[in-house]
C-alpha cells in the first residue's frame, strides 16, 4: 500500500529524511515514532504529497510517485485521509462545513454529505458541536473534528500526525479507540507519535526515526 525506496528529503541545509526504505501493507496499523525533529511529519507529508522527495521513490496505493501526473494528485489525495498535527481547521467555518468540504470537493450531493458528516461526527462523539466554530472548541474537540474530516471520505489510508499531542490520558485513550475502530474496518493507518505509552505492548508495528534515519522496525 505504501512503499518508500531510499527516500531522502532535504530542507535547505537540514536532511529531514535520509535514505529511508520500508513497506506498509494494506490494512496494517503502523506507528511512526522518534524524538522531536526526527522527521516523522516529513515522512507523512511525503505520503500525502505535501512534500516531494529529493531522491528515491515512493509508491502509494499503486500510484508510483515518479510517473504520477500532476493531474492525478488530487485523486490520490482523496485516498489518503490526514489528521494534521496543526489541525488545519478553517476558523470561520462551522465544524459541519469543515468536514463537509471534503465531500463537496468530491462532488457529493448535499443530502448525502449531511448523512455522512453526521455519521463521522458520531464516530468521534462530536455531534453536538456540529454548528460550533473551531476556535470555540477545546483542544480535544478540535482534534476529534480533524479526525472526523479525515475519515468522512472513507479513505483507504488514514494518516495521523500526533493526534493525541497535548491531550490528557482519558482523551488520548478515546482517540486511540476511534483509530482502532477505523482500522478494524480495513483502513491502513499510519500514526505518528513520540508517546511510547500509546504503542507499548500493543503488538503493532513501530517504525523508529532518529535525525532522519530509520533506526528500527519493530513490534511495540
Amino acid at each position: 500500500m505504501i512503499r518508500f525506496e531510499g527516500v531522502t528529503k532535504v530542507y535547505d541545509t537540514i536532511t529531514a529524511l535520509r535514505h529511508v526504505t520500508f513497506t506498509i501493507e494494506k490494512g496494517e496499523f503502523v506507528y511512526i515514532t522518534g524524538p522531536s525533529g526526527a522527521g516523522k511529519s516529513t515522512l507523512l507529508k511525503l505520503i500525502y504529497l505535501a512534500e516531494r522527495p529529493d531522491s528515491g521513490n515512493i509508491s502509494i496505493a499503486g500510484w508510483d510517485y515518479k510517473s504520477l501526473k500532476e493531474k492525478a494528485v488530487p485523486y490520490l489525495r482523496r485516498n489518503v485521509g490526514v489528521v494534521f498535527q496543526d489541525f488545519k481547521l478553517l476558523p470561520n467555518k462551522t465544524v459541519y462545513d469543515n468536514i463537509a468540504i471534503t465531500l463537496r470537493i468530491r462532488g457529493f450531493k448535499e443530502r448525502e454529505i449531511k448523512e455522512r458528516v453526521y455519521e463521522a461526527l458520531k464516530m468521534v462523539n462530536l455531534r453536538h458541536k456540529a454548528d460550533a466554530y473551531p476556535p470555540t472548541l477545546s483542544g480535544g474537540e478540535q482534534q476529534r473534528a480533524t479526525i472526523a474530516r479525515a475519515i468522512v471520505g472513507e479513505p483507504t489510508i488514514l494518516i495521523a500526525d500526533e493526534p493525541t499531542g497535548n491531550l490528557d490520558a482519558d482523551n488520548a485513550a478515546g482517540i486511540m479507540r476511534i483509530f482502532r475502530n477505523i482500522h478494524s474496518k480495513g483502513t491502513t493507518v499510519v500514526f505518528a507519535t513520540h508517546n511510547r505509552e500509546l504503542f507499548r505492548n500493543t503488538g503493532m508495528r513501530v517504525l523508529r526515526l532518529d535525525s532522519g534515519n530509520l533506526v528500527a522496525d519493530e513490534i511495540g
Binding site: P74, Y75, R77, L90, I105
Partner: protein, 289 residues
C-alpha cells in the same frame, strides 16, 4: 456548479464594500465604453447618408461622339461605390436652366447659341466608400479626353472621411484602454480575494480539491463583478440616451440621429462578464498542487 456559485456569492458578500467599489469602477468603465460605442454608432448614422447627398458633376467637351460618352458612362457604372450616372446633354441643360429660372426665363430667351456644356452627374453610394478609391476615381475621370472639368466637393468629402476615420481610431483606442482597465480592476479584486483565502485554498488542495474546484468560485466572482458593472453601465447609458432623446429636436436633421442601439443592454453585461472572467483567470495564474 451550484456550490462554487454559492461560495462566490458568499465571498462577494463578505467583502461587500471592496466589491461594491470594484463593481462601481467597472460600471463607470463600461458606461464610458458604452458611451463611446454610442458615439461611434451615431457618427456612422450621421455620415452614412452624407456621400449620397454629394454628386460628382463631370463637364464634357463640346462635339463629342455619343459612343465615347457611352464608353465613359459604362466604365463609371462599373465602380462599386457609384449609385447612378445620368447624362445631361447641352439641350437638356438649357431646359433645366430655363426651368430653374422660370419667371426670369427671358434672360436666356435671346441666346441663339447654347452656351452650356453637356455633363455627367454621378451619384455615390454611402457605404463602402474610402478616400483612396475616391481619389483614384476622380483622377481617372480627369484623365479622360472627353472630360473638360470635374466638380466635386472634394475638400468637404475628404475632411468628412478623415474625421470618420479619426473618430473610429479614437473609439477603438479608447475602447481598448477601458477594456484593459476593467480587466485590471477584476484582476486586482480577485487577486485580493484569493490572497485572503490562500490558507483555505491550501487546505482544500490537501483534501484533494482539483484546480477547477479551486478556481471556479473566483472565476464566478470575476464574472459577477463584471455582470454587476455591466448592469450599472447599461442603466446609465439608457438614462443618458433617454435624456438626449428628450433634448433632441426632430426638426434638426442632425439630432434625429441620436439614438441608443438597444443591443447595448445585453452587450455591456456580456462584455463585463467576459472581461471579469479574463481578469480573474489572470489573477489566479497557474495553480500547483
Amino acid at each position: 456548479m451550484r456550490y462554487p456559485l454559492k461560495v462566490a456569492l458568499k465571498s462577494l458578500w463578505l467583502e461587500r464594500w471592496i466589491n461594491l467599489l470594484s463593481i462601481l469602477s467597472i460600471g463607470v468603465g463600461l458606461f464610458i465604453l458604452g458611451f463611446v460605442g454610442f458615439i461611434l454608432y451615431n457618427v456612422e448614422g450621421l455620415t452614412k447618408g452624407a456621400p449620397e447627398r454629394l454628386t460628382i458633376t463631370v463637364f464634357l467637351k463640346d462635339e463629342i461622339p455619343r459612343t465615347d460618352i457611352q464608353r465613359v458612362i459604362d466604365s463609371v457604372k462599373k465602380r462599386a461605390f457609384v449609385k447612378s450616372v445620368r447624362f445631361i446633354s447641352k439641350e437638356e441643360a438649357l431646359e433645366e436652366l430655363k426651368e430653374a429660372l422660370r419667371e426670369s426665363a427671358y434672360l436666356v430667351e435671346g441666346i441663339d447659341e447654347n452656351p452650356l456644356f453637356a455633363s455627367l452627374v454621378i451619384r455615390l453610394k454611402g457605404d463602402g466608400l474610402n478616400k483612396k478609391d475616391l481619389d483614384a476615381f476622380l483622377a481617372s475621370l480627369r484623365k479622360e479626353k472627353i472630360v473638360d472639368e470635374v466638380i466635386f466637393g472634394e475638400e468637404v468629402m475628404n475632411k468628412l472621411l478623415g474625421v470618420i476615420t479619426n473618430v473610429k481610431i479614437g473609439v477603438v483606442v479608447v475602447g481598448l484602454l477601458f477594456c484593459v482597465a476593467i480587466v485590471f480592476i477584476c484582476y486586482s479584486t480577485v487577486k485580493m480575494l484569493f490572497y485572503r483565502r490562500k490558507e483555505e485554498v491550501e487546505i482544500y488542495k490537501l483534501l484533494g480539491a482539483t484546480k477547477g474546484f479551486i478556481r471556479s468560485p473566483f472565476l464566478f466572482e470575476g464574472l459577477l463583478l463584471g455582470l454587476g458593472g455591466g448592469i450599472i453601465a447599461s442603466i446609465g447609458n439608457l438614462l443618458v440616451s433617454k435624456f438626449l432623446e428628450e433634448l433632441s429636436n426632430p426638426t434638426l436633421p442632425f439630432m434625429r440621429y441620436v439614438v441608443m442601439p438597444e443591443e447595448i443592454v445585453i452587450l455591456l453585461p456580456l462584455i463585463g462578464m467576459t472581461l471579469g472572467v479574463v481578469g480573474s483567470a489572470i489573477a489566479l495564474g497557474k495553480i500547483r498542487y
